[in-house]
C-alpha cells in the first residue's frame, strides 16, 4: 500500500519531442486513479515512468515519500498488467503466477500458498496446470492479474488491460477489477483510452491530451464541470454538442437559435456546449427550445438518440452529403419520446445547463 507522487514529471525524447509535460499528481494510498486520453497523449508513457520501464527526463517520482527515479523496476515493488497480458508461454499458469515469488526467493510452501490463494480469488484453480496457449482471452487476462496480485505489491499499474477482450467480457471484467481493487485496497493506476471505462472504474480521473494534464477529478466533476473544450468533448457518450455562437445582447446566437444567456463579460465569439442528455421533448418551464427535422433516430431500447443536421450556410446548396455538410446536434431522448425520423420535433433544454467556452483557449467560462 503506498502513496505515489509525481512532482513535475516530464518525458522528453532525444529527438526533442515532449511526450509528457510537467505532471503534478498525488495518488493517495488505496486510491484507484485512471489515466485517460486519446492515443499518443502520453498516458502510457506516464505509466511506464511510474513502473520504471522508461526514464524520467525531469521531475521527481516518489513512492511512499521516497524518491525512486533511479530505481530499477524490480526495486520499486509495483506490479503491472500489460495490454497484451505478456504471459510467459513456456510456463504453466501456476509457474507464471509463481514467477515473481520465485525470483524473490520465497520458500516453496509459501509460494504454493500464495499462488493458490490468488488462483482462488480469480477463479483460476482449475487452470493452474495449463499453458497460456490453451487459455481464452478472458482467462489469460485473469492470469495476468493473478501474476500482479500474487506478491502483494505496493501498487498495481494497468495498461489498457481490457482492450483485447470482446465487449461483453470487457464489461464483466471491468466490474471484477473494481471489486478486486476495493477488496485488496491496493493503490492502482489504470490507463485506458475508453472514457466509459474511466468513468465507471476510477475514484479519480486524469485526462491527458498531447502530453499535458487537462483536468483531474472524480468522474462526476469532469462530467458536470469540464475545465475546457477537450474534456467536454472527451467525457460523455454521445459527446457534448459544441456549437459556435455569437454573443449579442439577447443571448448566444447559434444554429439552434438564440440561447438566452447574459452576455456581460463574454468575448464576442464563444462555443456553447450542450450535453445530448440536456435535451428533452417535453416542455421545460423557463427553458429554451428549437424545432428541426429529425435526421436519424437510433432506438437503443433504454433511450433514443436523435440526430439533427443544420446547414451552416457556407456549404451545400445541394443539401449536404451523407457525411453531413453542416453542423450536427445530438439529443438523447426518453424511450417514450414521440420523435420520428424525417419528421420535425421540438426539443427543450435548460439554458443554465449550457457550458460556455472560450474558442481560442478552450477554457470553460461557466465552470
Amino acid at each position: 500500500m503506498a502513496e505515489i507522487v509525481l512532482d513535475g514529471v516530464s518525458k522528453r525524447y532525444p529527438d526533442g519531442t515532449t511526450a509528457v509535460h510537467d505532471i503534478n499528481l498525488t495518488i493517495a494510498d488505496r486510491e484507484f486513479v485512471i489515466l485517460v486520453g486519446p492515443s499518443g497523449c502520453g498516458k502510457s508513457t506516464t505509466l511506464n515512468m511510474i513502473a520504471g520501464l522508461e526514464e524520467i527526463s525531469s521531475g521527481e517520482l516518489r513512492i511512499d515519500g521516497e524518491r525512486v527515479n533511479e530505481r530499477a523496476p524490480r526495486d520499486r515493488d509495483i506490479a503491472m498488467v500489460f495490454q497484451s497480458y505478456a504471459l510467459y508461454p513456456h510456463m504453466t499458469v501456476r509457474e507464471n503466477m509463481a514467477f515473481p515469488l520465485t525470483l524473490a526467493k520465497l520458500p516453496k510452501p509459501e509460494v504454493a500458498a500464495k499462488v493458490g490463494h490468488a488462483a482462488q480469488l480469480l477463479d483460476l484453480t482449475a487452470l493452474l496446470d495449463r499453458k497460456p496457449a490453451n487459455l481464452s482471452g478472458g482467462q489469460r487476462q485473469r492470469v495476468a492479474m493473478g501474476r500482479a496480485i500474487v506478491r502483494d505489491p505496493k501498487a498495481f499499474l494497468m495498461d489498457e488491460p481490457l482492450s483485447n477482450l470482446d465487449a461483453k467480457l470487457r464489461v464483466q471484467m471491468r466490474t471484477s477489477i473494481a471489486r478486486l481493487q476495493k477488496r485488496l485496497g491496493t493503490t492502482t493506476v489504470y490507463v485506458t483510452h475508453d472514457q466509459t471505462e474511466a468513468m465507471t472504474l476510477g475514484d479519480r480521473i486524469v485526462i491527458m491530451y498531447s502530453g499535458v494534464v487537462q483536468q483531474v477529478g472524480p468522474p462526476e466533476e469532469l462530467y458536470d464541470r469540464p475545465a475546457n473544450l477537450f474534456v467536454a468533448g472527451f467525457i460523455g457518450s454521445p459527446s457534448m454538442n459544441l456549437l459556435p455562437a455569437q454573443v449579442r445582447d439577447d443571448g448566444l446566437h447559434t444554429i439552434i437559435g438564440v440561447i438566452p444567456h447574459r452576455s456581460r463579460g463574454l468575448p464576442p465569439e464563444v462555443v456553447a456546449g450542450i450535453r445530448p442528455e440536456a435535451f428533452q421533448d417535453t416542455r421545460i418551464r423557463g427553458g429554451a427550445s428549437f424545432t428541426d427535422t429529425v435526421d436519424i433516430l437510433e432506438s437503443m431500447g433504454a433511450e433514443k438518440i436523435a440526430y439533427f443536421t443544420f446547414e451552416t450556410g457556407e456549404t451545400g446548396e445541394s443539401g449536404g452529403t451523407a457525411f453531413g455538410d453542416g453542423a450536427q446536434v445530438v439529443a438523447r431522448l426518453d424511450p417514450k419520446s414521440r420523435a420520428r425520423e424525417g419528421e420535425p420535433a421540438t426539443l427543450w433544454y435548460d439554458p443554465a445547463a449550457v457550458h460556455i467556452f472560450d474558442p481560442d483557449s478552450g477554457v470553460n467560462l461557466t465552470a
Binding site: A86, P89, H90, L103, A133, L157
Partner: protein
C-alpha cells in the same frame, strides 16, 4: 497441377540424392568392381569400412572434427546469442557498425586469409593445434549465428521482458529465464548451421594443419592412399565420406524435435 508439382518434387529429390546414393554404393563395392559403373554393387564388401576404421589417422581426424566443431559451435553460440540479443533489443552506439562488420566477415573470401593466417599461426605457435582451427571457425561462424539469432530474438515480444522486469527479474534473469527458453528452437537451428559449417570446412583444415594432431576428417580423407601405389583409394574415400555425414544426421535428428514452430503461442493477444 498437384501431379505436376509431385513430379517436380521427385525430380529435385533425385537430383539431390543420386550423388549420395552413388557414394554409398561405391563404399560397398569391392575394389575390383569399383569401375564397373553399376549403381548396385555387384560384389558387396565391408572391407572399405573396416579399412578406414583400422586407419588411426582417420579416427584421429574424426575426433578432431567432433572436438573442434563442438567447441567452435559452443563458443560462437555463447557470444552470438549475446550479440544477437543486443542487436535485436538495444539501441547502442556502433550498432550499425557491428552489423556491417559481421556482414563483411561473412562475405569475406576465406581463401584470401589462408596465407596470412598460416604465417600468423606459425609465429604464434597455433599452427597445427586445435585452437588454430577453432579461432577461424568461430570468426566465420559468428556472423552466421548473430544474423539468424537476432532474427529469432526480434520475433519474441518485447513486452515479455518488460513483464519479467516488473516481476522483479534482473536483466540477466529476464534474458535467461524468459527469452532464452523461447528462443531455443532458433538457437538449435543456428547451432546446427554453425556446426555444419565447421564440420564441412576443408580449406582451413588442410592449410592450417600438418599432422594428425589437429587435422579434421575432411582433410584426413584427402591423404588416403590405396593399398598399393597402383590402386586408387576410391572405396575408402567413399566409405569415409559416408561416415562423416553420420554425425550431422544424428545431430539434426536429435534436435529436430526441439525445432518446433509456434513455441511463443499464447504469450500475447491472439
Amino acid at each position: 497441377m498437384k501431379l505436376r508439382w509431385g513430379f517436380i518434387d521427385v525430380l529435385v529429390i533425385l537430383y539431390a540424392l543420386i550423388p549420395v546414393l552413388w557414394i554409398v554404393s561405391l563404399s560397398f563395392k569391392d575394389p575390383s568392381t569399383i569401375t564397373d559403373g553399376s549403381l548396385l554393387p555387384t560384389k558387396w564388401t565391408l572391407s572399405n569400412y573396416a579399412g578406414i576404421f583400422r586407419n588411426d589417422d582417420f579416427l584421429r581426424g574424426l575426433v578432431n572434427s567432433i572436438g573442434i566443431g563442438l567447441i567452435s559451435t559452443f563458443v560462437a553460440m555463447v557470444f552470438g546469442t549475446m550479440a544477437a540479443y543486443a542487436i535485436a533489443r538495444l539501441a547502442f552506439p556502433g550498432k550499425r557498425l557491428l552489423i556491417g562488420f559481421s556482414l563483411l566477415i561473412a562475405m569475406f573470401p576465406q581463401i584470401s586469409l589462408v596465407t596470412p593466417l598460416f604465417q600468423i599461426e606459425r609465429s604464434l605457435g597455433l599452427f597445427d593445434t586445435w585452437p588454430g582451427l577453432i579461432l577461424p571457425y568461430i570468426t566465420f561462424a559468428l556472423p552466421l549465428t548473430i544474423y539468424t539469432l537476432s532474427a529469432f530474438f526480434k520475433e519474441i515480444p518485447a513486452e515479455l521482458e518488460r513483464a519479467a522486469k516488473m516481476d522483479g527479474a534482473t536483466p540477466f534473469q529476464a534474458f535467461w529465464k524468459v527469452i532464452v527458453p523461447l528462443a531455443v528452437p532458433g538457437m538449435v537451428t543456428t547451432a546446427i548451421l554453425a556446426f555444419i559449417f565447421c564440420w564441412n570446412d576443408f580449406l582451413f583444415a588442410i592449410s592450417l594443419t600438418s599432422t594428425s594432431a589437429a587435422r579434421t576428417a575432411p582433410a584426413t580423407i584427402s591423404f588416403f592412399t590405396g593399398s598399393s601405389q597402383f590402386e586408387d583409394p576410391t572405396g575408402s574415400i567413399a566409405a569415409a565420406a559416408v561416415v562423416i555425414t553420420i554425425p550431422i544426421v544424428i545431430f539434426v535428428l536429435f534436435f529436430q524435435r526441439r525445432i518446433v514452430a509456434g513455441l511463443t503461442a499464447g504469450a500475447v493477444k491472439g
